[in-house]
Each structure stands twice: as C-alpha cells, then as structure tokens.
C-alpha cells in the first residue's frame, strides 16, 4: 500500500494535479519548496509588527517581554536570511549575519534575565505587573 502510494499514486496525483492546474500550482509549490529572500523578509516584517503591537498594547509586562523576544527574533530571521542569500549569490564567507544572530540570542537571554529580575523586584515593591500602573519613570 505504501509502495503504491509513494511510487505510483503520488506521482500520478501529481501529474493529474499538474494537468488540472495547468502547471501553475506546480510552479507555486516549487517556489514554496525553495523560498526566496522576500518570503523571509515578509515573515520577519510580520513577526516584527506582531512584536511591536504586543509591546505597545499588552499590559502584562511578561507578555511585553515575549513581544520583545519576537522583535529580536524578527531581526535574527533577517540576519540569517540575508546571510544565506549572500552565500547563494556566491559569497561563501558571508557568515557575519549568522554569527550576529548568535550574539543577539545571547544578548536577549541576558536581557531577559535582567528584565525578569526587574519585574520580580517591581512586583515585590508594587505588587503588580500591569504596566499601566507603573509610572515611576515620570520622576
């Protein structure tokens, strides 16, 4: 059954689908199998926007942290995508983006540690993690 499925049915279905869609779908599928740079950038931009919206709108400070992580990871995605893109274009040594991503991850970890420490200290003093109740930056 498996043998049939993989060796005959799937190619047949594939050919059928191809014939039905006049090859357009196959092209899209092919493209999806081998995404180009713009896809990654779009994903990165979406992640960034989600993160920014989270930072601006959420009241729970933990969620804001998570949103910040999203922003950082959007940046990481961009770094790696660019790096791969540059490698594809022939620059074998374009690994700076990947190394940068590692650095960003490390910095994010450190930031999270400090940030959560601040949150705990804040909670102990103010007994809240809702950011709209914390306005001591005014002074």
């Amino acid at each position: 059954m498996q043998f049939l499925l993989f060796n005959f049915l799937s190619p047949a279905l594939g050919l059928l689908f191809q014939a039905a869609t006049n090859g357009r779908f196959a092209t899209a599928w092919e493209k999806a199998q081998h995404p180009d740079l713009s896809k990654f950038l779009i994903i990165g931009a979406l992640l960034f926007i989600i993160g920014v919206a989270g930072v601006l709108t959420r009241r729970n400070i933990i969620v804001i942290f998570m949103s910040i992580e999203l922003i950082l990871n959007a940046a990481n995605l961009n770094f790696i995508a660019m790096s791969r893109y540059l490698q594809d274009t022939g620059n074998v040594n374009a690994v700076a983006g990947q190394i940068f991503a590692v650095f960003v991850i490390v910095v994010a970890a450190a930031e999270a540690a400090i940030g959560l420490g601040i949150v705990i200290a804040l909670y102990r003093n103010k007994e809240t993690i809702w950011v709209d109740e914390i306005d001591i930056l005014k002074w």
Binding site: V52, L56, V131, D132, L137, K138
Partner: protein
C-alpha cells in the same frame, strides 16, 4: 711666532673665565686662583716677547711692515658684515668748500679721485653717483711697532702687578672675583691695543672702561667706592661719545675701519691749517674727546683721583700703567688724522700742558699717598699729550713706557706701604719707613728719581725729550708756551714727589704717637682734616680698607703678635711686605732705572737716534706719518701698511702733488713764528749745544724741585705751614683741587638732578594723572555698563524665560507620562515616520503592485 699673537688676549680671558665662573663654585684656593691668573698672564707675556722678537728683531723680521693676522689667515673672522656703505662725507665738493685757496680746491678734487672708491649706486635720471665701499669689519689682530710696545707694556707690567696682587690681596674674601676682573681687564686692554680696526679698539675701550668700573667698585659695600666707580664710568661715557662720533665720521668718510685702509686714504687728504676746521679736524676732535675721557685730561680728569678707591694693584695696573694710556695709544695710532689738522695738534698740546701743570699743582697739597700718585699720573699723562701735540708721537709713547715702569713701581710701592702700615694712607701719619721697609724704600727711590727726571733714570730721558720737542717744535706756533708750562709742571713734579718721599720714608716716625682711636680706617683722613675744611670729609679718603681677618697675618715681622684691625689698642709697627710683593717692585725698579736707554737723547749720541730698531724712536718710525712727504716714516717713505716704497712708486711719491708745496720735514705746516730752540740756536750756532742747554735746564728744575722739597719737608718742617698761610688762596685752591668737583657738581650734577626731578614731576603728575584718569573713566563706564546689564539685559532675558516657561510647561509636562509604553509608541511612530520618509515612494509602489495583482 707672530702667527700666534691671537693667543695673547685669549689667555687672560681664559684665566678670567676659569677664575670667575668656577672660582667660587669649586672653592678654589688662593694659590690656585693666583696661579691661574699669573700663569695666564705669564704665558701671554712669553708669547708676546717671542712674537715681538720674531716680528721686529729676528733674522727675517717683518718690521717695518704691519702684520695683520688676517693676512695669512692665522686668525680671521668677519665680525660685522656691514654691507655697502654710502660715503656721505669726504666728497670733493665738501672738501673744496672747506678749503681756502683755489689750488687746494683743485687738489682736493684730485685727491678724491685718487681714492678710487667703487661706485655702489646712483640715480639714473640725474646721473648722480653714490660713492661707497663695502664695510666688512673683521676681528683680526695687528702687530706693528706701536702695538708691539703696548703689548709688551701691558703683559710685562701686568705680570709684575699680578704677582704683587697675589700677595696684596691675600686674605680677601673676593680673591677669585678680583683676579677674574683683572684678567678680563687684560683681555680688553690687549684687544684695544692689538685690534686691527677702530671698532675692535672701541670694544677694548669699552671693555677696559667696564673693568675699571668693576675694579674701582671692588669694595662695593663702601659708599665712596661705589660712587667713585660710577663717577669713572659716567665721565668716561662723555669721552666715549666723542670717540663713537669719530668712528662714525671715519666710516662715513673712508668707508672702512681697518687701520691700514683708513690711514692709506687719510694720507692723501690735504693738510688743514690752523683755525681751519676741515673733515679730519672734526674726526680728530672726536677722537681727542675720547682720549681725554680715558686718559683723564682736562676737564674730564675728575674720575681718576677718585678711582683710587679701588685696591692698589688696580690703581697701578689700570689707573697708572695701562688703561689711562689708551688715549695716548689712540692718538698715536691715528696720528695721520691728527697731523692733518694743525688746530687739533695745538689743542692736544695745550690741553696736555694745562693738565700737566694743573694736576701737578694739586699734587703738592694732597695728603693721601694714593691721591698724590693719582694726580701725578694725570700730570704725566698731560706730558704725554704734550709730546703728541708737538708732533713727537714716538716720544709720547716712550714716556708711556717709562711712566708705566716708574708709576706702576710707585703705586705698588704705595700699596706695599699701605700694606705695611696696616691700611694707613695718610702720609702725615707715616715717616721714616725706610727703617722698616728697606726693599720698598730702595725701589721707591728709583721711581722717585725717575719721575723727577734725574739722569740716568728712565723718566729723565722721556721727559727731557718731551720738553726739548716742545721747545723746538715747528708743528705748532705755541711750542714755547708748552715748554714753559711743562717746565713748571716738571718742577712741581719734583717738588711733590720729594714731599711724598720725605713724609713717607724720611723724617720722624709719626705713626708712633698718634692713634686714631677706634675709628674706621677710611675715616682716618677725614677725622684728621676736620679742622681744615668740612668738604674734606667727603672727598678725601680713598683706599683700601682692611680685609684681613683678625689673627691672620701676612707680614714676616714681629708685629704679627696682634691683628691688623685692632686700632686704638697698640702702636702699629710697620713691617716689610712679603716677597711676592717686593720682588715685582724690584723688577720694576730695574726697569725704571735702565728703561730709558731705549730712547737715549740725540744730544748724547751726536744728533742721531742710535741703536737701529732698538731705539724706540726708530722703532716707531713706520707708524708715524710725515706731513712733509705725505707718507709714513721720517727717513724712508712707507705706505700705511709699512711697506717701503721703492722704484716707480717711490719716484711718484717723491713728486709732491700740485697744490702742496714742498716743505721741510721739520716744519710741515710752514714757519711757525717764535721758537725757543731756534732763538737759542741762533745764539749758540750749534744744535747739540742747544739741546744740551735744554737738558741742563730740565735737570736744573728737577734739582730745584727736589731741593725745595728737601728744604720744606726735611730741613725745616715749619716751612710748609708758613707758606701755606702766606699763599692761602693758592693753597686752598690746590688743596680743594680747584673746586672742579664742586663746579661739576653745580654745573652738571645739579642740573641733571633738577631735570630728573622735573621729569619725575611730569611723570607723576601728567603721565600718572593720565593713567589714573583713564582708570577712573574705565571704572565709571564699567559701573554704568554693569548696571545696564543687571537691570535691563537680565530683566529682558528673565522675562522671556519666565514667559516661555509659563506657556510651554503644561505641554511638556503632559508628555512625561512615565509609562514606558507611551515612550515606546513615540519611538515606533518616529520609526514609521523615518521609514515613510526614506522609503515612502517604494512602499507606495509596492502597495500599488500588490493591489494590481489582487485586483
């Protein structure tokens, strides 16, 4: 050997530098300092002797030619690269305007053309040419007859005095300083006499003036020494002003300062007869003013007696033997210029004669042993100028030499006496010192006989020659006046020197009974003289104050049981000075005795200057210009560098140019009227007999002077007081030095002080008033401006600030919510704006294309 004469000034300088710079720091012992100083002078003296021997007396001697170190590159260095000089003086027009006769005018134009100076510029439109030359003043030393003699005097007599000073200055706290100054003086003096141009002479001239100032003021903590040093310096400035003007004149006229060039050109100038002030007369006047200042001639003599405030070796070296003869050196060096001006010759002779008599009469009444010698020096310098003025320059230099011997001897003898008498200078408290100081006495005796002019001591030969030349001169018409004045001065000289001898070495021992009783040394004389005149307390007193520490004794005799300075406790017994002091005295005494034979009178030698070059008159001949032939040298014709003219040059020189009449060598300016020697000659019909007559007269007056002195101060000691009372006005005038100091005090010092006070008043009232007024004005304006700033400007600023703050503060306060999310929002908005600004069009396009795909 004479290639090494540049070492002669350098050695004393090096010694002075070592002593002066290191002597104190490294705490040199007296032996080391004295050794360095004496050693450097001795070496310089040896080099000088060798150089002069090889220059003048060796087999291939250069004499009579002048040797300049730059000739063969032994020592040369362009010291002042002066560049082009425009000759403003000495142009044909100017000369012609000054001359009287037609022929002389033509001649002047010719002479100027002969000078052959290069044309260095001009005006193309008018066709005028500017004549000039290139003035490159070089530092090089000149060796000729004149500088040889001066180098020998300076280093030789200087050596004696340095040796003496090591003994005399023993125990002084400033031992190193003294020898540093003395070495510096030797350097300056040697530069003065060895320089090959006027500017080097000027450098030496100022250098010796400075050292004289430093050494007179050696005991600078004593008011009168400080005053005397300033007086010497300021009086010399007057003379130096004239000298500087003369140098400017030389540069403007000849375009060079090198002696040989200047004199070569000057020799071609026309003679300027009596009463005619031509160019060279003015230059000679400037030079003579300089000589008056340095050589203490009337009226600039006032500094020399006061200069006795310095230590006695200084008086001997600077104020008797060398520095004060610099004026003579200068006049003899520039004898070409002086001989061109009959007027200036007469001025020189008359000033010299006046000074000789004037100073000799003062010397008669002074009581300070050094003062007597100081006035004696002034008087002898007057004799030297007399010699120059009557045309006997070589005799003037001869007298410089003999005077250097006997006067240095007597000054050092006086130093020895002062030393032996424990710093007593008043002759009235001496007497019979021959018993206590035999060496000093014997040597002083030689000096006394020499200055009195007793045959065969050195002073006789030179002084007699001066008087003979004055009587027989045909250079100036007033030779007979000069002779009479000189003879009287010689009588006075013999008188006051005998007085000095009698009061100091003969007679009773006046120091035994009288004691000053605890008074300071320099006050002795004034304390003594209070009964006579108040003025005396201010002006008498010169001399050396005790510098020895108590208990430290120099002399070898028994009086060393007590210290030098314990006045008023015991009677001081004089003692003979140590060997370092009397040995130089002995050397100088020998020189003072036999030194005169180098200029032995022609009366003794059949009317000729015998001895070839060994005779000083023959030796100096090449540098003396002969106005009759317009060339150098009496016998041979030489050019200004001492080169003999032979062959064609000689033939051309012998033809006197048009406008100059042939004259006899003895009377280059024509007949000069009344002449003592001529009158005597017309009676005796024998030149040698005439000269003998004058010799006898001069010996006679010396004898009269000595006899009078003996009568007054040995035979009958009441006579001086009796005659002083009889001739009271004269005595007072002489005793008070003719009130010259007072006159200068009134005529110059007071005026200068008044002027200074006036200037001070102007300064304090007008200048300071202006300054203070402007300060007041500034303060006032600053107060106004300050008020404006405080109330008006600050008010506006504060008002605006307050207004802005009131208006804007709610807005900005509202922005400060304190919520982190608000701030983040602002950041994001800013990001959006930034992206929109930068990528706005790209985004719009992308959106459009997306819509196009969707739709």
């Amino acid at each position: 050997m004479y290639r090494y004469i540049w070492l002669v000034p350098l050695l004393p300088l090096a010694g002075a530098a070592i002593n002066g710079l290191l002597g104190r720091k490294l705490r040199f012992s007296e032996k080391l300092i004295g050794g360095i100083a004496v050693g450097s002078i001795a070496l310089a003296f040896l080099i000088t002797v060798a150089a002069v021997y090889s220059y003048a007396f060796s087999r291939n001697a250069m004499w009579p030619q002048t040797y300049v170190t730059s000739q063969d590159g032994a020592f040369k260095f362009t010291w002042i690269p002066g560049g082009a000089v425009r000759l403003t003086q000495g142009s044909p027009e100017l000369q012609a305007l000054n001359l009287r006769s037609e022929a002389a005018m033509k001649r002047a134009a010719e002479l100027q053309a002969q000078q052959n100076q290069p044309v260095i510029g001009g005006n193309e439109q008018t066709g005028e040419e500017t004549r000039g030359s290139v003035l490159d003043v070089e530092w090089s030393y000149q060796l000729d007859a004149l500088s040889s003699i001066f180098m020998l005097i300076v280093t030789g007599v200087g050596l004696c005095i340095f040796v003496f000073a090591t003994g005399y200055m023993h125990g002084d706290t400033g031992f190193y300083r003294f020898f540093a100054y003395m070495g510096l003086f030797m350097f300056s003096m040697l530069v003065l006499v060895m320089g090959s141009n006027f500017l080097m002479m000027f450098v030496g001239w100022e250098g010796v003036g400075l050292c004289s100032y430093l050494l007179i003021g050696y005991y600078f903590d004593r008011q009168e020494a400080a005053n005397a040093s300033r007086k010497a310096f300021i009086t010399n400035r007057v003379g130096d002003f004239g000298f500087a003007l003369a140098i400017f004149g030389v540069i403007a006229t000849f375009g060079t300062t090198q002696y040989t060039d200047v004199f070569g050109q000057a020799a071609t100038f026309p003679l300027e007869p009596l009463g005619h002030w031509g160019l060279l007369s003015w230059i000679a006047l400037g030079l003579f003013i300089g000589a008056c200042g340095k050589s203490a001639q009337l009226p600039l003599h006032v500094w020399l007696p006061d200069a006795m405030a310095g230590p006695t070796p200084v008086s001997a070296l600077i104020h008797a033997a060398t520095m004060v003869t610099a004026g003579l050196y200068m006049v003899t060096r520039t004898n070409v210029i002086f001989q061109h001006s009959q007027t200036m010759m007469m001025v020189v002779a008359l000033v010299g004669a006046a000074t000789a008599l004037f100073a000799a009469t003062i010397g008669i009444t002074q009581n300070d042993i050094k003062k007597v010698l100081a006035y004696s020096t002034v008087s002898q310098l007057g004799f030297m100028f007399m010699a120059c003025g009557v045309g006997a320059f070589a005799i003037g230099i001869f007298h410089v030499m003999t005077h250097a011997f006997f006067k240095a001897l007597m000054f050092l003898g006086a130093g020895s006496v002062i030393h032996g008498m424990h710093h007593e200078q008043d002759m009235r408290r001496m007497g019979n010192l021959r018993k206590y100081m035999p060496y000093t006495y014997l040597t002083f005796l030689a000096g006394w006989l020499a200055i009195c002019g007793i045959i065969p001591f050195s002073g006789f030969w030179s002084k007699d020659e001066i008087l003979w030349n004055a009587a027989s001169t045909r250079y100036i018409p007033v030779g007979w006046i000069v002779w009479i004045v000189g003879t009287i001065a010689a009588t006075c000289t013999a008188f006051y020197m005998t007085r000095l001898m009698a009061m100091t070495f003969w007679g009773k021992e006046k120091f035994l009974g009288k004691q000053a009783g605890g008074e300071a040394d320099e006050a002795h004389a004034s304390a003594y003289d209070k009964g006579l005149t108040q003025h005396d307390a201010k002006f008498t007193s010169a001399g050396d104050r005790p510098r020895h520490e108590p208990g430290e004794h120099v002399g070898p005799t028994g009086s060393s049981a007590h210290a030098h300075d314990d006045h008023g406790h015991a009677v001081h017994i004089p003692h003979e000075s140590p060997a370092s002091m009397w040995v130089p005295l002995a050397v100088l005494a020998v020189l003072a005795t036999i030194g005169g034979f180098v200029g032995i009178s022609t009366a003794f030698t059949g009317g000729k200057h015998i001895g070839g070059r060994m005779n000083i008159v023959n030796f100096l001949d090449p540098i003396i210009w002969n106005p009759a032939t317009h060339h150098f040298g009496k016998e041979e014709m030489l050019d200004s560098a001492g080169r003999p003219l032979d062959g064609e040059l000689r033939a051309r020189a012998e033809v006197l140019p048009a406008g100059i009449e042939a004259k006899e060598a003895s009377s280059p300016y024509g007949p000069q009227g009344f002449n003592l020697a001529e009158i005597a000659d017309s009676k005796l019909h024998n030149e040698t007999a005439t000269e003998w007559l004058f010799i006898v007269i001069s010996l006679l007056v010396a004898g009269i002077g000595i006899g009078l002195g003996y009568l007054f101060y040995v035979k009958d000691t009441r006579l001086p007081d009796i005659w002083a009372a009889r001739l009271k006005p004269l005595y007072q005038a002489s005793y008070n030095k003719y009130w010259v100091d007072e006159f200068f005090g009134w005529a110059v010092t007071r005026r200068v002080m008044d002027a200074a006070r006036g200037v001070f008043a102007f300064d304090s009232k007008v200048v300071d008033g202006g300054v203070n007024g402007s300060a007041w004005l500034t303060r006032l304006s600053s107060r106004i401006i300050g008020g404006t700033d405080q109330y008006f400007v600050d008010g506006i600023v504060n008002a605006i600030a307050a207004f802005v703050a009131r208006l804007m503060s709610p807005l900005f306060r509202a922005a400060q919510t304190g919520f982190a999310q608000n701030y983040a929002l602002v950041m994001v908005l800013g990001l959006v704006v930034a992206v929109a600004l930068f990528f706005g069009s790209d985004i719009a396009r992308a959106v459009k294309s997306v819509f196009a795909i969707i739709l």
